[in-house]
């Protein structure tokens, strides 16, 4: 048999089947879960999506951005603009959020890719701040105090009527269920796409560029194109996620939509605590985060204080996160991306 490169493992296949099962359960959940649970899951899934994207950028791509909130915010505002100014259906306006994010990402990349390391990170943050300040000047969308989605728009969202009939719930709850399903789909598609990306040559090139850019270039990897591609893709999906989040919230303000805490701090914590550089990491991190939030949310500042201290402790003692610890102990890989050579007999050596 001719030798070939494979990434599939038995554990991975089992994990894949479990994932499909979970998604099916997730789809059916609104039938028997309370509205509170659906809302919580919505938050979890959208944060998970953002975390996977940040992980792709920083963990795999080596692009440490603390400015992704720029894309969340601009995506959300683009959706609001389409609804309020152009009369679009909010759900249909969600992809516009992605496009707006890409439009912002292009000049951002031109600027920040000239910078290295820490400068890059600060540069992304400044761009996010500038975007926030500029958007706060947009009087038609509420300026600095923000605005809400108009009643006519929210009462008439595509698909809501069907859901109301299906589950016999009120309109607001139906909106939540719709948002939840979209979030589930978005999270599943994003994770699947990232996994696919890493399994094929782009993933290998990305890892090469992250580990040693010069060496990667010397074997023909176009580092610039790869960085651009990853940055723009991440921006697009982040923008879509931002738009979706604010469809559910229905109320927006610059400080909220461009919040460093909500869209960068929490996301980074999820990735770090879960385990950076592995797809399993953000999944585990989101669960830990959700558990912490549920138990500590009533304690306001203590909650964030604890989160900060946990992040420090994890970086000091378990830099590859909780998943890293688990994986080291058990050798478990649920999303196997390592390439093995099959069909070859290796002689000698060890």
């Amino acid at each position: 048999m001719a030798p070939r490169v494979v990434t599939r493992t038995r554990t991975g296949t089992i994990a894949g089947l479990c994932a499909i099962a979970l998604i099916l359960i997730g789809l059916a959940l609104p039938a028997f879960a309370s509205r509170g649970v659906i809302q919580d899951l919505f938050t979890l899934l959208t944060l998970l999506t953002l975390a996977q994207l940040w992980n792709l950028l920083a963990g795999y791509g080596g692009l440490v951005s603390v400015g992704q909130q720029a894309f969340v915010g601009i995506g959300a505002y683009a959706m609001f603009a389409a609804v309020i100014l152009l009369g679009w259906d909010p759900v249909l306006a969600i992809p516009l959020g992605g496009l707006a994010a890409v439009a912002l990402a292009v000049p951002t990349a031109f600027f920040v890719f000239r910078l290295q390391g820490a400068y890059f990170a600060i540069g992304t943050w400044v761009i996010a701040e500038v975007t926030r300040l500029l958007v706060a000047q947009w009087k038609a969308l509420g300026g600095g105090t923000g605005t809400s989605l108009p009643r006519e728009a929210t009462s008439d969202i595509i698909g809501v009527a069907t859901i109301r009939a299906l589950f016999d719930v009120r309109e607001a709850a139906a909106r939540d269920i719709l948002a939840y399903w979209l979030a589930l789909a978005l999270a599943a598609v994003t994770i699947a796409a990232i996994y696919w990306l890493l399994r094929n040559r782009l993933g290998l090139a990305l890892a090469a560029v992250r580990d040693n850019t010069e060496a990667a270039k010397s074997v023909g990897v176009d580092a610039r194109r790869i960085k651009w591609a990853v940055f723009l893709i991440a921006a697009f999906v982040t923008g879509v996620t931002g738009a979706l989040i604010y469809v559910q919230t229905a109320r927006i303000s610059p400080d909220a939509a461009f919040s460093v805490t909500d869209w960068t701090a929490y996301v980074i914590f999820i990735v770090v605590i879960g385990g950076i550089g592995r797809i399993e990491g953000p999944i585990l991190g989101s669960l830990v985060f959700y558990a912490l939030q549920s138990t500590l949310a009533d304690y306001g500042a203590w909650y964030l204080l604890t989160l900060g201290l946990i992040a420090i402790a994890v970086m000091l003692f378990a830099p590859r996160g909780v998943w890293g610890l688990l994986s080291d102990r058990t050798g478990l890989h649920l999303f196997p991306v390592q390439r093995r050579l099959e069909g070859i007999d290796l002689e000698g050596g060890k």
Binding site: A58, V64, V66, F111, R114, L115, G117, A118, Y119, A121, I122, G123, W125, V126, I127, E129, V130, L133, L134, A136, Q137, V260, T261, A265, I268, F269, V272, I276, G300, A301, W302, Y303, L304, L305, L307, G308, L309, I310, A311, I312, M315, L316, P319
Partner: protein, 287 residues
């Protein structure tokens, strides 16, 4: 003559930003460490000074004098026990640890002091002004600017005229060879952070006397500080002052056109400079 007044105010504001940035420049220059908690540490020191003036009834300058050695010790310990363990080739771990520290500090201060705005009482200094002919400036901004210059001169003296300064520069160039000279890099880093915290205390004093502060304003100070450092270029303290002044002037000019544009103008100024000179105005040769 409103433009001259605006520009002078901007320059003096730049002195405050240079104070924010000097400690950051020191640490960034020596160990390439991005301390995302730097702004929150300034706020922490400001609360410390407030506490001392409140409980001991002392003059803020004296309070800062008392707070400074304590902050040195805290900075030294932070570097020795925490940050030294994550310093290395990868920029992510120190970034994440200091990010966690930033969040922890902000919320710790929130729990301890509530979200109320505070001010360090400065007595007559708060509103006193001096007529310089073309413009009238407040004593506070003038004193702040003069202190910024004094701090930079002081730090440069340490860097270029003392054995410690030689050790700082050598360790920044090449930690391994520095250790061959008998210099322990970890110890040097700890002293550097301690020294940076003393500068932070001075910055906190002027921040607190000049304007209201609360636990949440740390990150904004951090951004201004970083912008000043980056505009100035790695390793140049005078560059950091230039950076502070550029941002200060951009802000006051922006505010003169439209008060809502003040902060935005500062950021735009930063972006413009960086577009032209990605490594800053006065970067050193080795990086």
């Amino acid at each position: 003559m409103i433009w001259i007044d605006t520009i002078v105010q901007g320059v003096l504001l730049g002195g405050l930003y240079a104070l924010f940035a000097a400690g950051l420049s020191l640490v960034f220059g020596i160990m390439r460490l991005v301390n995302l908690a730097h702004g929150d540490m300034i706020i922490f020191a400001a609360f410390g000074i407030l506490l001392i003036t409140g409980t001991l009834g002392l003059n803020p300058f004296v309070a800062a004098l008392i707070a400074a050695p304590a902050m040195f010790a805290l900075g030294w310990a932070l570097q020795w026990f925490v940050l030294n363990r994550v310093l290395g080739r990868d920029i992510l771990p120190p970034l994440l640890v200091t990010f966690g520290l930033s969040v922890a500090l902000q919320n710790g201060l929130l729990e301890a002091f509530s979200a109320d705005s505070r001010r360090i009482p400065a007595g007559p200094l708060e509103s006193a002004s001096v007529d310089l002919g073309l413009v009238t400036v407040g004593w506070m901004p003038l004193l702040t600017f003069a202190t910024a210059i004094a701090v930079i001169v002081g730090l440069n003296q340490i860097f270029y005229r003392t054995a410690l300064g030689r050790a700082f520069r050598a360790t920044s160039d090449d930690p391994v060879t520095a250790s061959l000279m008998g210099i322990a890099p970890k110890g040097i880093f700890a002293i550097a952070t301690g020294l940076a915290m003393v500068v932070v205390t001075i910055a906190a004093l002027y921040l607190g006397m000049r304007a209201n502060f609360d636990p949440s304003i740390g990150p904004a100070r951090l951004i201004y500080a970083f912008e000043a450092v980056i505009i100035g270029g790695l390793g140049s303290l005078w560059g950091t002052l230039a950076g502070g002044i550029i941002i200060g002037v951009a802000q006051t000019v922006g505010a003169a056109i439209n008060p809502e544009w003040q902060i935005l103008a500062g950021h735009i100024g930063f972006l413009v400079v960086l577009m032209i000179r990605p490594r800053g105005l006065f970067p050193r040769a080795v990086d």
